[in-house]
Symmetry: C2
Subunit: 344 residues, 2 copies
DNA sequence: TTGAAAGCGGTACCAT
DNA sequence: ATGGTACCGCTTTCAA
């Protein structure tokens, strides 16, 4: 006996009214007399009437639900993003379905299909690292399903974008390292195809150029699974360390990569920052308890989830087709700690 | 144009059959001739027919959705739990609605009501620290909504429980500290009313008793908001440190408390383990990168989410009322590192 | 074996 | 201002 809830029909019967009248009264329609409205609304309140959302959905073809496509759930950064999404969804009475691609294109396809099948009203999407072909998304977009891209975005589909100011993040990080005497600065990052990687590289190159430091292509390393595979970080780190001119500093591009780098350096007993300075893009609560306290670039994860959801709900609820789209870029914050202490 | 999907009616029309025949053919009913079945199924596949889940839900009064009531989303432990839930839900074709109580009884009530309104088929619940009164859950339970409690459970409602072996976790931790020469062992934990707190205290006391160490009530400190409020951890830690006989070791009961304790000790320049040894209940990926590397008790978060979801779906799909319930207790793992090095 | 029709709980058009 | 009724898409009883 799930639904022992009272329905419109019950109210109609109890008050000797028709279903339509009750429905309209509950919607506060101007066509209904105040007297009846009050009677119906009072009765509904008294009996704790709740409209059956499934029936409403069937009728209206709206589910008040948002589909989320992200790379990974158990992750500091994405946890904060989800929290931001939840904060808006909760207020606006939407719910959200979370799916994770685990950086797999196949699984992204599958998840998208699943979400569409579940009839979500709109999509919040951050692309998997494997995703090159965007046909699946274009098809959905053509069906006029509202989409907002966040974090890992694409320009191939015209809609709102919300992202971190990645370029500025690496720019600040690189500049900080240079100012502290580091010259051979490496960057361990996500796969080259996704937007965040390109943007971060851009900021990194920009800072190097500004200080007339020659770019060494050997210093840029990609983790093709975004750090999901344990070994990939180890491999590239070893490559860096075994260069004839090994780097004296490294910028790690995500929570996962940062933590892997720190763990590996620790295991190898490579001293930070003496042998290698480290800056991490991480949203960990207290990077000051790392050994040594870690200089970090923090991304506005909560804000990103929040804003993306607000924009999405705006799209969903817009009466007229939206034709002008926003690219919102949220600032990062750098926190300087001992892992990048001035080079002696 | 959300739903440009083909419906049963379309298939019926295209093949010159009735809706009912098509519906039955799609369900592979034995009443339908093989010839028609094949025709219908082939056509459905070709046109990529997907049953409208909303319509099915309205009809069947089942939504294939699971409501989740947890204290907090952006949290290492709960992120892993959600991941475990997702793994099962994904396979069994359920979706899940996540709500967070933020340790507030009010919000737990509100979330529960929201989930019921959304017609979830079952509930995964971990109680907020504030929750004393269980009437809201009893009411739902009486409506025969399947419930599985996990982590923070209650015996007041008869159903499956999945939890960590908390007592064994603190028992092992306490014993380890004693064996390493620590005698004045403090415990900073969650509020006294929730199950995990009681269980952890039990293990802590048991180990002390086993070694004939007298219990000092001043050494047990509760964070009444589970560490959600920054100051509460600071307050109790200061109380501990200012005791005439200050503790020489502390066991922190959660990710949040652990991180807060480490950050505070660092800020106060209190050396670990020299001045104070620390063991944390934390699921952080790489506690070896903390300063110093942290001895941890790791909880089987993923497994807990996974198992709880399996049990819940079992309840949901059971043909007959389930009358015998399980209490599943999953083991913790202790990882010994330098934050509890043998006392000199 | 197949089809007609009712009904799940709402909403909204068309009457009156 | 109120009521009757069809319909959203699917399932299932009843009839044939």
């Amino acid at each position: 006996m799930k639904s022992d809830n009272i329905t419109i029909k019950d109210i109609a019967q109890a008050l000797g009214l028709s279903n339509s009248t009750v429905s309209r009264a509950l919607q506060d329609s101007y066509k209904i007399s105040e007297a009846i409205k009050k009677k119906v609304q009072d009765y509904a309140r008294e009996k704790n009437y709740r409209p059956n959302l499934v029936a409403q959905s069937l009728r209206s073809n709206k589910t008040r639900s948002i589909g989320i496509l992200i790379p990974s759930i158990p992750n500091i950064f994405w946890g904060e993003v989800i929290n931001g999404i939840e904060s808006v969804a909760h207020d606006k009475n939407y719910h959200f379905l979370i799916t994770q691609s685990l950086e797999s294109y196949e699984r992204e396809l599958e998840n998208l299909e699943h979400l569409m099948w579940r009839s979500v009203d709109g999509l919040l999407i951050s692309l998997s690292t494997e995703t090159e072909n965007l046909e699946h998304l274009k098809k959905v977009h053509e069906k006029n399903i509202p989409i907002v891209f966040f974090d890992r975005v694409t320009d191939a589909i015209e809609t709102h974008q919300v992202k971190t100011d990645n370029a500025d993040g690496t720019y600040k990080a690189t500049k900080h390292l240079i100012n502290n005497g580091y010259k051979r600065i490496a960057h361990i990052t996500s796969p080259p195809n996704i937007s965040i990687t390109k943007e971060r590289l851009e900021g990194y190159y920009r800072a190097l150029k500004e200080f007339n430091i020659e770019v060494n292509p050997d210093y840029v390393k990609y983790c093709y699974h975004g750090g999901m595979e344990v070994n990939e970080v180890e491999t590239v780190l070893d490559e860096l360390l075994s260069l004839k001119k090994a780097p004296d500093a490294v910028i790690a591009a995500s929570d996962r990569i940062t933590i892997a780098v720190l763990a590996l350096l620790q295991r190898r007993k490579i001293s930070i920052p003496k042998k290698l300075a480290v800056i991490g893009f991480t949203n960990f609560t207290a990077p000051e308890i790392f050994n040594p306290p870690l200089t970090t670039v923090r991304q506005p994860a909560f804000e990103m989830g929040k804003l993306a959801t607000e924009l999405l709900i705006q799209l969903i609820e817009s009466k007229r087709p939206v034709t002008s789209f926003e690219k919102r870029i949220l600032p990062t914050e750098m926190f300087i700690r001992e892992s990048t202490s001035r080079k002696k």
